[in-house]
């Protein structure tokens, strides 16, 4: 089996290398990719929002488990005593006196927690900066959204998953993911209604203030904000669902 696979792989590689003999050299300024294809694909980026949204919904549908755990563990913070509650109907209010606990629970690490607590706001500001400056520097909605989502994931790694789920509700994440796609598709559809092509920002001139040269930048910014919101929410949804096997209670 392994030998067969190796032969197949080598044959594929040999065919591909044979094909490259007619390709342009590396760094050739007159390569067809630089001369002809530009412009054709620029309108194709709407796929990325649709794909990432579908993946988030898919992870949710595959993994989400609403049954919940039967037994709960708590720890008493002043004394460190662990409480095991077998009755699923009873639960303790978590606050200054009692804290959550689960299989992978470890005592909170002072250095990790505080460093992450200081860093997370700056990571989020950086995410917003990258998002807002996407139209005239490297960056944009996807990168900004990923940085913002990773700051939420960092919160759940440095504290625990419950802290994240308590602050950012699952419903909110779902609404954000859908809202991002709606902003993106809505802007495109608005251009269609006014009479242009899909995402033809120049047609938005009557709706937005400012010089007509800036309208395209505004349109791009709106679309990037939509992409950023959707990507941020979907990254967090995928992470939470995979790490807790869909139960949203314990995890890394």
């Amino acid at each position: 089996m392994r030998i067969l696979a190796f032969i197949v792989v080598c044959l594929t590689g040999a065919f591909l290398l044979y094909g490259t003999s007619e390709f342009p050299d590396w760094g050739d300024p007159n390569a067809p990719a630089s001369l002809h294809v530009a412009g054709y694909y620029i309108e194709k980026t709407y796929e990325e929002t649709a794909v990432i949204f579908t993946a988030g919904i898919g992870c949710f549908l595959l993994l989400r488990d609403f049954r919940g755990k039967k037994e709960h563990y708590y720890h008493h913070i002043p004394t460190g005593v662990i409480l095991h509650i077998k009755d699923e109907k009873k639960s303790l209010t978590v606050g200054k006196e009692f804290g959550y606990m689960d299989k992978e629970w470890v005592p909170p690490d002072l250095i990790n927690k505080n460093i992450c607590r200081i860093l997370i706001p700056f990571i989020q500001i950086n995410a917003l900066y990258v998002l807002a400056h996407g139209d005239y520097s490297p960056g944009g909605g996807f990168q900004g959204g990923v940085i913002f989502g990773s700051s939420l994931i960092l919160l759940s790694i440095s504290y625990d998953l419950k802290t994240l789920v308590k602050r950012v509700k699952e419903r909110l994440l779902g609404i954000f993911a859908a809202l991002g796609v709606l902003i993106y598709a809505g802007t495109g559809a608005l251009c269609l209604i006014i009479g242009g092509n899909f995402l033809d920002y120049g047609k938005l001139a009557p709706l937005l203030p400012g010089h007509s040269d800036h309208i395209r930048a505004y349109g791009m910014l709106v679309v990037e904000i939509g992409v950023g919101i959707a990507v941020m929410a979907v990254m967090t949804i995928i992470y939470i669902n995979i790490v807790s096997e869909g139960r949203h209670d314990e995890g890394l």
Binding site: T12, P29, G56
Partner: protein, 131 residues
Amino acid sequence: MSDVLSLIIAKYNYWLYVILMMIGLYGMIAKNNLIKKVVGMNIFQTAIILFYVSIGYKTHAGIPIITSADTAHGVAVKAADYINPLTSCLMLTAIVVSVATFGYAMALAVRIYQRYKTLEEDELRMRLSEE
């Protein structure tokens, strides 16, 4: 012999991506563990991304941001001075797609593990034939 060597040197980016792609394809076909297959798929996608990014490169060209010094003096902007940004932009979409497929594949793997308690392909086939 020297002809072949010069041909390889002129197009060595294609050789690199083809080798990377063969590694990924071998991982997808021959490995028994589902997670290793997914990692093989990721290597494959990385090879495609590298291929596209290398197409956009031009020798002696700068980053594709038009400097204000060029436009202020009325010098015409020459396309050969800037690398082609289109391929990199396209690959941004490919990165998103690879993130999405990786996340979805991980979710599937978690689900398979929950049900069959294994990720090895031969054991999975055994469990399936038992049922």
